[in-house]
């Protein structure tokens, strides 16, 4: 109670106001680009050249969005980013499912069936989280060629699975370490096998970590640019590569409103995931990037 009363002094109120103003200013800094992107994407080009960044559209239009989706030029072709948006999904969905499944089984085998060398195997795989991908680009290009899947969606899926399982294994391994071994030991005594125990005991409690893994992989792969630009052809490009091409295509007038609409389209899926499942997103970020 004494504490509460002390809070009411003028100095305390002033410092309270200062804290809130810093926090709100910071929020404006983070929001500014998104707001500008949205406003610009619904302005006609004339208003952009006549007005300034934060002026609200006088005559809002969705034309930049439809153009960005279906007509804008990305390099030599003028089909918008719509097709590439679906390309990204066609790459992301299988890559996320496969890498999460493998990660779950790996994590399970590493923690509940400890064998000699399990820690070494884990350390070996974990290193894959840290390498700069530039160091695998050239051999990967050649290997994809040998496998006959260079510049294909299958090739990109393979690349994302290969370099994603280090992360998914890390997630599931750290999660399963915390599940009591007694549950598994009892089931082993009853004669239940490897997959049966996984299916009946581990999987039912794995929902949170599956969500973390799926969200992490989804954002990583959706936002990937390096692999996309190195290993795709014009018809298999992910949306990030198409967006970059669209913005850098230098034919005719620069249509900033179309650029911004295309950027919004490329950003929407991961933003939606973040808004719907922010808690898990943060958990993945911290787990995926901190410890082993």
């Amino acid at each position: 109670m004494a504490n509460v009363i002390r809070r009411q002094t003028l100095a305390a109120r002033l410092s309270r106001a200062a804290v809130y103003s810093v926090l709100v200013l910071a929020a404006l800094f983070y929001l500014l680009p998104l707001v500008v992107m949205l406003i610009t994407s619904v302005k006609p080009l004339s208003e952009i050249s006549a007005g300034t960044l934060l002026m609200l559209p006088q005559d809002p239009t969705l034309a930049p969005w439809t153009k960005a989706w279906g007509e804008a030029c990305t390099g030599m072709r003028c089909e918008g980013v719509g097709g590439y948006f679906w390309n990204s999904f066609a790459i992301v969905i299988p890559a996320v499912l496969i890498s999460t499944t493998i990660g779950a089984l790996n994590g399970y085998a590493l923690t509940k069936w400890r064998f000699k060398g399990a820690e070494l195997v884990f350390a070996l795989m974990l290193f894959g989280c840290f390498i700069p991908f530039q160091v695998v680009l050239l051999p990967m290009a050649q290997t994809l060629g040998w496998l006959g899947i260079s510049s294909s969606r299958a090739g990109l899926i393979l690349v994302h699975v290969v370099f994603g399982i280090a992360f998914t294994t890390l997630f599931f391994r750290n999660f399963y370490v915390g599940i009591p071994d007694e549950l598994v030991a009892a089931a082993k005594l009853d004669g239940a096998g490897f997959f049966r125990i996984f299916w009946r005991i581990l999987l039912p409690v794995s929902t949170p970590i599956i969500v973390v893994s799926v969200i992490w992989q989804f954002t990583q792969i959706w936002n990937d640019f390096l692999f996309g630009v190195a290993f795709s052809a014009h018809n298999t490009q992910p949306v990030t590569v198409a967006l970059n091409n669209l913005v850098n295509t230098s034919t005719g007038v620069r249509e900033y409103n179309v650029d911004m609409a295309a950027a919004m389209i490329a950003a929407l899926p991961t933003l939606v995931v973040y808004v719907l499942a922010g808690k898990y997103f943060v958990r993945g970020l911290t787990a995926g990037s901190v410890k082993g």
Partner: protein
């Protein structure tokens, strides 16, 4: 005693028979991933190292020239620009993210109303692709239509913010955009760290009459050392890998003023038919990552052994 012995021996044969395949299954399940890791991570690193010792240009050739490509790299002015840029960009990016992240986390920890909303706002850029970030900031930094034009239209005619077209300043635009994207994440790391600190330590300091800033500086900060450490690791790692942001925001320009090792490597290996030189630069990037990673892993392992 005898009873236990018999049950033990009684169990043994059964465990052994069902143990045959069952004992190998975990290893079988892991085998593909281990093979993938050995081939695609370790094999490819070795492969790139071998390429870096050859005179490969447009196609890989295995005509060895020793460390000649590394020597060429050291004499390459563009490589030095890229490395210096990484130093400037990396240092500023890490430091500013840490300061902003720590500050926001401490302020947010003061029983703030709507804390959840603010946190969501601070962190959302992390969900975006660096390409999107680059495209947006390129627009904001555009001198004739972006922030500069806006402030000038408010009456500050002499306001200049044209860093993106200034070779000496363009590197700092990368810092701005990258800080915008990642500082909220550092805030989240710090906030989690702060929430993990035992309240009684802070209460005790308060009873001793220490002021709030003093408590933070002397009591809380030392507890957050591991958080600072991992944040530095993660941020340094992001900095070394930065590729997309440069491509989207400045394209490495003006000229090659904002080149980073990652874009240098890509340009030489894929666009300029200098596979040998590109491989050498990739190996140096790997060296840079290892230089940060090894001390980190070492201290992690040590602290775990102590814990």
């Amino acid at each position: 005693m005898k009873n236990i012995a018999t049950t033990r021996t009684g169990k043994a044969p059964r465990a052994a028979t069902s143990g045959g395949l069952q004992a190998w299954l975990p290893r079988l399940v892991l085998a593909p991933s281990v093979a993938i890791s050995l081939f695609f991570v370790y094999g490819f690193m070795l492969w790139t190292f071998i390429l870096s010792l050859t005179s490969s240009r447009m196609l890989p050739s295995y005509d060895f020239v020793g460390f000649g490509q590394y020597a060429r790299l050291m004499q390459n002015e563009r490589w030095w620009v890229a490395s210096t840029n990484l130093m400037i960009f990396g240092t500023l990016f890490v430091l500013i993210c840490l300061v902003i992240g720590a500050l926001l986390a401490m302020l947010l920890d003061q029983k703030i109303r709507q804390e959840g909303v603010l946190r969501t706002v601070y962190l959302y850029p992390m969900a975006l692709s660096f390409i999107v970030t680059g495209v947006v900031w390129k627009w904001l930094l555009n001198p004739s239509l972006g922030i500069q034009a806006m402030v000038q239209s408010w009456g500050f005619e002499s306001f200049r913010f044209d860093w993106i077209v200034d070779p000496d300043m363009a590197i700092y635009t990368l810092v701005i955009a990258a800080v915008w994207q990642a500082s909220g994440f550092v805030m989240a790391l710090f906030l989690a760290g702060l929430r993990g600190i035992d309240d009684s330590i802070v209460k005790a300091a308060q009873l001793d009459g220490a002021s709030l800033p003093r408590i933070y500086w002397r009591v809380v900060m030392p507890c957050l050392r591991p958080v600072v450490f991992s944040a530095v690791m993660i941020l340094a790692h992001i900095a070394i890998k930065s590729f997309d942001l440069v491509v989207a925001l400045t394209g490495g320009g003006p000229g090659y003023a904002t080149d980073l090792p990652a874009t240098f490597m890509y340009a030489h290996a894929f666009n300029r038919s200098q596979i040998g030189l590109g491989s050498a630069s990739a190996m140096l990037m790997l060296g840079g990552v290892l230089a940060i990673l090894i001390p980190y892993l070492y201290s992690e392992l040590r602290s775990r052994r102590h814990g």
